[in-house]
């Protein structure tokens, strides 16, 4: 499925001279405010957002940005939602040289927000890298994206060169292409890759903030987190808190797709309801039965339950879901959620790093069991415990929590959620065989073979 990065500000006619970004301005868009009608390159970026405040912030107290980040309440936008300031502080307190890694690899097939940011607002992300490096005292910085994205790599190399010519950054930023595999964007995978190894997760502890790239304390932030940091450094923590909820401040990028009229990347205040997000994308294009929120590490929710849920980590967790990296996929009533999930679990099984037995053997078995339920049911085997829902439940319990990383847990959470969000579908498949929805073309996007690397080097 093609998912063009579009924004609500997209089609507006370009201004000759962009208005200077005004800090107290509208609460959204913030990150995406700079996207329309801007001269390309560093010049347009500085016109819109003002110069990089690295020297003013650093004077005397390099840690001031960490204070600002903590006070702002910014949390990681890559999926885990860890407090940004706290992570920076623990890296800054570590021994020796520090390293900053910007994670723009965006392993989630249904997410486009990081690619949009890096393509259209690379300097905002690079500002964040420079500021974070200054704040934690890093001597090295890396910006990691998928190595299959040639045009993106070129854009970023160009932006880095432009900044180097202007002598803007306190540290040399290197753009790195990672193998395009689902688990390669996991933070320990990136660290191992930068250390010369394969881009697969490692056994922890030590975690990257303790011992990461070249053995040094390493700060790994998602690129959207860094872009927010670049705005907080300019406009302050109180400005940042003006959007969102007191318990979950700021804005976040969401990627909306599936059965909506205008799929794309949108910027929302945290706490916006899932239903409002669907309406931002001009609403459903056909009747919906559910939403998949959080991507393939997230969870299905029935549409009625999902609609009022606030888009925050806490709000979605309370509803049995996960915010993840802000992915919302609208599932039309004519689709079969079991079949959709079966295809994704097959993909996740193929995307195992091949390291941990329960993941290597368990995910393909789970994919088989789910595919059987989806496409052939378990007719005549109702009481056979080696098939159907009983087997799926057993496999979930066998796989969960038994990998070095959370890859197998993401898959089991997705399967658990499809069974609890659509129990009647699951029962129907088991008792009566496939529903008519399995014949519909797949809704959930999966990368084509040409986009995937087949090793981790």
């Amino acid at each position: 499925m093609a998912l063009a990065p579009r924004t609500p500000t997209g089609p507006r006619s370009p201004a000759v001279r962009p208005a200077r970004f005004r800090p107290p301005g509208p609460r959204v868009p913030r990150l995406l405010a700079g996207i329309a009608g801007l001269p390309p390159g560093l010049e347009g970026h500085e016109l819109r957002y003002g110069p990089l405040p690295v020297r003013g912030l650093a004077r005397g107290r390099p840690g001031r940005l960490i204070d600002l980040a903590e006070a702002s309440g910014l949390t990681g936008r890559g999926g885990a939602g860890y407090p940004t300031g706290r992570k920076m502080r623990s890296v800054a307190a570590g021994p020796g040289n520090k390293v900053v890694v910007a994670n723009g690899a965006e392993g989630e097939p249904a997410s486009r927000k990081d690619r949009l940011l890096l393509t259209r607002l690379p300097h905002l992300v690079l500002d964040g890298i420079a500021l974070a490096a200054e704040a934690v005292g890093a001597s090295e910085a890396y910006l990691c994206v998928h190595g299959t994205q040639d045009s993106l790599l070129n854009t970023l190399d160009g932006a880095v060169l432009e900044r180097r010519a202007a002598d803007l950054d306190p540290v040399r930023i290197e753009v790195v292409g990672l193998p395009h595999r689902y688990v390669s964007s996991e933070q320990s995978s990136i660290v191992q890759f930068l250390n010369g190894g394969p881009a697969v997760p490692t056994f922890s502890p030590p975690r990257p903030h303790e011992r990461g790239v070249h053995g040094n304390p390493t700060l790994v932030h998602n690129v959207e987190t860094l872009a927010h940091l670049a705005l907080i450094a300019r406009f302050g923590d109180r400005w940042f808190r003006r959007a969102g909820l007191p318990s979950a401040p700021g804005t976040t990028l969401v990627t909306v797709s599936g059965a909506v009229r205008n799929p794309g990347v949108y910027e929302i205040e945290l706490g916006t309801s899932a239903g409002q997000v669907v309406m931002l994308a001009d609403g459903p294009s056909e009747p919906l039965q559910g939403l998949l929120i959080g991507g393939y590490f997230g969870a299905w929710l029935p549409v009625s339950a999902a609609w009022p849920v606030p888009m925050t980590h806490a709000g979605l967790k309370a509803a049995g879901g996960a915010l993840g990296a802000g992915i919302v996929i609208a599932l039309p009533a004519s689709c079969c959620p079991i079949a959709e999930t079966a295809r994704v679990v097959r993909y996740l099984a193929e995307e195992t790093a091949g390291q941990c037995g329960p993941c290597v053997f368990g995910l393909p078995a789970l994919a088989d069991a789910l595919a059987q339920l989806a496409f052939s049911g378990s007719l005549g085997r109702g009481r056979d415990r080696t098939h159907g829902l009983a087997e799926i439940g057993a496999l979930i319990r066998l796989v969960e929590g038994r990998g070095a990383c959370r890859h197998p847990d993401g898959a089991t959470q997705l399967v658990r959620s499809v069974l609890s969000a659509f129990p009647a579908d699951a029962q129907r498949h088991e008792r009566q065989g496939p529903c008519p929805g399995v014949g519909r073309p797949p809704l959930l996007p999966l990368p084509g073979d040409e986009e995937r690397d087949w090793d981790f080097r």
């Binding site: 056994f203 502890p205 941990c356 329960p358 368990g362 066998l398 038994r402 070095a404």
Partner: protein, 71 residues
Amino acid sequence: MSLTLRVNPIACVGHGMCAELLPEVIELDRWGYPILTARAVPRPLVDHARRAVRACPTLALLLEQNTGKHR
């Protein structure tokens, strides 16, 4: 402070020695990989646990002082 067992799932290739030597705490799943039925090792089994750790051909079984620092 207690001793807890942990499996490094990357290093483990399923030899199954640990389940032979410490069946009270370790059983094998259907593919032959260890499942810890309890993480804390009961005191009378500590020597057996150490033996299982030493016997692992890939050094994948770890016996750790549980300081509460790491999950």
